[in-house]
Amino acid sequence: MSHAVSTDIHAPSSGTNYLNNGYGLRSWLLTRDHKRIAILYLISVSVFFFIGGIMAMLIRLELLTPEGDLLQADTYNRVFSMHGISMVFFFLIPAIPAVLGNFLVPLMIGAKDLAFPRINLLSWYLYITGGAFTLWAMIHGGVDTGWTFYTPLSTQYAQGQVMMAALGVFIAGFSSILTGLNFVVTIHRMRAPGMTWFRMPLFIWSHYATSLIMLLGTPVIAVTILMVAAERALHLGLFDPRLGGDPVLFQHLFWFYSHPAVYIMVLPAMGVVSELIAAFSRKPVFGYKIVAVASIAIAVLGFLVWGHHMFVSGQSIYASTVFSLLSMLVAIPSAVKVFNWTATLYEGSVSWDTPMLYALGFIGLFTIGGLTGVMIATLGIDVHLHDTYFIVAHFHYVMVGGTIMAYLGGLHYWWPKITGRKYKPFWAKVSAMLVFVGFNLTFFPQFLLGYMGMPRRYWSYAPEFQVLNVLSTAGASILALGYLLPAIYLTWSMRYGEKAEDNPWGAVGLEWQTSSPPPTFNFHETPIVTHDAYDYQHQRPTIAAKGEASLG
């Protein structure tokens, strides 16, 4: 147990942990401790989530009425572009890997740190540099290309700070590559004795799969952005139709990364959910091995489906047919996971703590997001639904309903480990319910709107769409409240929260065997692993009283 912060300087070395091992700004900004870097990431991705959230609220407020009474076309274009860019590149992609993954990957496999601590710190600085460029672009007028930077709009016609925003995304991409590189090497080379591949927690498997995508996909978007920049700034026309270039090539290269990027967002989320479902059902994940392999399968298949973004871009119909078929294949490993999580609940000793609420929410919302994905992978339906609000609703169900639900669930689950403090379960459950209700109210009407033909990316719409848009905006305000609450009570708990035990949930897993918060080098002694992951039958958790129930 750690002592009160003020007395810790006098405490014996066993009482020091990664948080009280140095207090100065320098000890944070030059740290090589993966746990401190995770905290740095936590703060910075929260800032971008806040910025992206404000943009989202502006969009929803404008769409309250059919007319352009808050924003006009040009401003609206810039607002939704900056919403997409900050959310996709600066929140969703780094959120789970760089915050929870950074903190937990070494802890879960029993390592002292990631393989390359300095590169880990470098990756945060790259993220911050990229973020700074993007913020600069935002302040100086933003961009109106959408987050996709399609050519020739981005290379020739777009006004605004395309170069700066693209440079920001380019730099942030290398931060992602370095994180992936670190995870792959750490997982290969630094597992504790006895931690065989098929004893690794599913969180580690899904981060391994994610890292592969980061390594293989991100360089391609980097070089693509470089080519756009060369064309815009230096007139080296690589996608310019006047020189015989092909704008559709840009789309191929862009989606070769940006489709797998969806799996960068959702695979770590699946890893989090596997941990939560097992911990709060007191059972091993049903079909552990197949769930582990499904992560790799999603990563591999994810690279073969990018063409489904281009069914109406003039791509050959034969290519479209093949891409359509391959896209449906992704549903198989995804469905395997959903079924196996559900099967894990069966005859489990299920409890309803906050993280579990988020996990169950994830399963429902991800299922809707995934199934509508199969719908729009179908050629005929996609031609009808392409560039409508149906698409917007679909990818928000996967990215917000999937990734952010899991991110919040994971944050609530590991919060006592990260900070050594507990939050108030009442407010946590209230906010989990608000998020679930608000989310569905925001995005379900958008499925209907899209099906009725409302196109995306316009600031105005036909009057008959107004009722559903009002519902959606109302949902967005509930959702915003649901996101604001954790920011308040989690911050509050860091100072005033009750001290957390080492294993407040009574969960198995190496991260729960060390103290809360963990010491700088994670374990006082390198652990030796003798059991499979989630072995709740044979490993009796040390704390009998479970989780939030102990708070009364």
Binding site: G22, V184, V185, V223, A230, H235, L249, L253
Partner: protein, 233 residues
């Protein structure tokens, strides 16, 4: 992070003498070496994909305009490109010899071989700069000053595309060379301090992998850009 960790001290007691280069979070020097080696290979995989985007673009447009690409390639300076190829291959040899010197513990030979590598790399860049200057003089740089009259009318625009590819591909390659020279200079400083010997030469070997990779990229660029129309000259 300056405080020595409790675990670090006990690791030394646990059996092996802690090598000065052993980092705190690794158990053995071998584990550290395997990790950096895997990390470097993974990084090179990302580099292959980075250049891969450019090569895909090249292949696509060359298939679309085979005659134009052959014609435009005649405007590149083959003797200079060939000389640069030779220079780079020699630099890979000197790089390998620097690593070999560390492996056989000839510590005094490391720095000269590294400096030879730096000089050869710099030679490559100087020759490249002369080539770029020649392209500027002949109005072969894409953009408003590109001289369309050098080509038949229907070939002129796609030829501009060829030169766009030429400048982006060789430019990105040259940038990698500059980064490589920076790494080599850092290695010279480290070697002077006597950091490397037969027990520890990870940074030398890793930089070597990077240098050879950059070399190999040029081995592909040279025929694809300079020689593709050479037989029809």
């Amino acid at each position: 992070m300056v405080n020595p960790a409790p675990g670090q001290a006990s690791a030394g007691v646990a059996g092996h003498d802690a090598h000065p280069a052993l980092q705190h979070h690794f158990d053995t020097l071998e584990q550290q070496k395997e990790s950096s080696s895997l990390g470097m290979w993974m990084f090179l995989v990302t580099e292959v994909l980075f250049f891969g985007g450019l090569f895909v673009t090249y292949v696509l447009y060359r298939l679309r305009f085979p005659g134009v690409f052959a014609e435009a390639s005649h405007h590149l300076n083959v003797p200079m490109g060939a000389l640069n190829t030779a220079v780079l291959i020699c630099s890979s040899l000197t790089m390998a010899l620097a690593i070999y010197a560390a492996q056989v513990n000839k510590k005094k030979a490391i720095v000269p071989w590294l400096i030879a590598t730096i000089l050869l790399g710099a030679t490559f860049l100087v020759i490249k700069a002369f080539e770029y200057k020649e392209k500027f003089a002949h109005h072969l740089v894409p953009g408003p000053n590109f001289d369309l009259s050098l080509f038949t009318p229907d070939h002129a625009r796609p030829a501009e595309m060829f030169f766009s590819l030429y400048f982006v591909m060789t430019g990105v390659h040259a940038l990698h060379m500059i980064i490589g020279i920076g790494l080599l200079s850092w290695l010279v400083v480290q070697s002077r301090k006597g950091r490397f010997d037969s027990t520890y030469y990870n940074p030398l070997e890793m930089t070597g992998l990077y240098w050879h990779f950059v070399d190999i990229v040029w081995i592909f660029l040279f025929p694809l850009l300079y020689l593709l129309g050479y037989h029809a000259r």
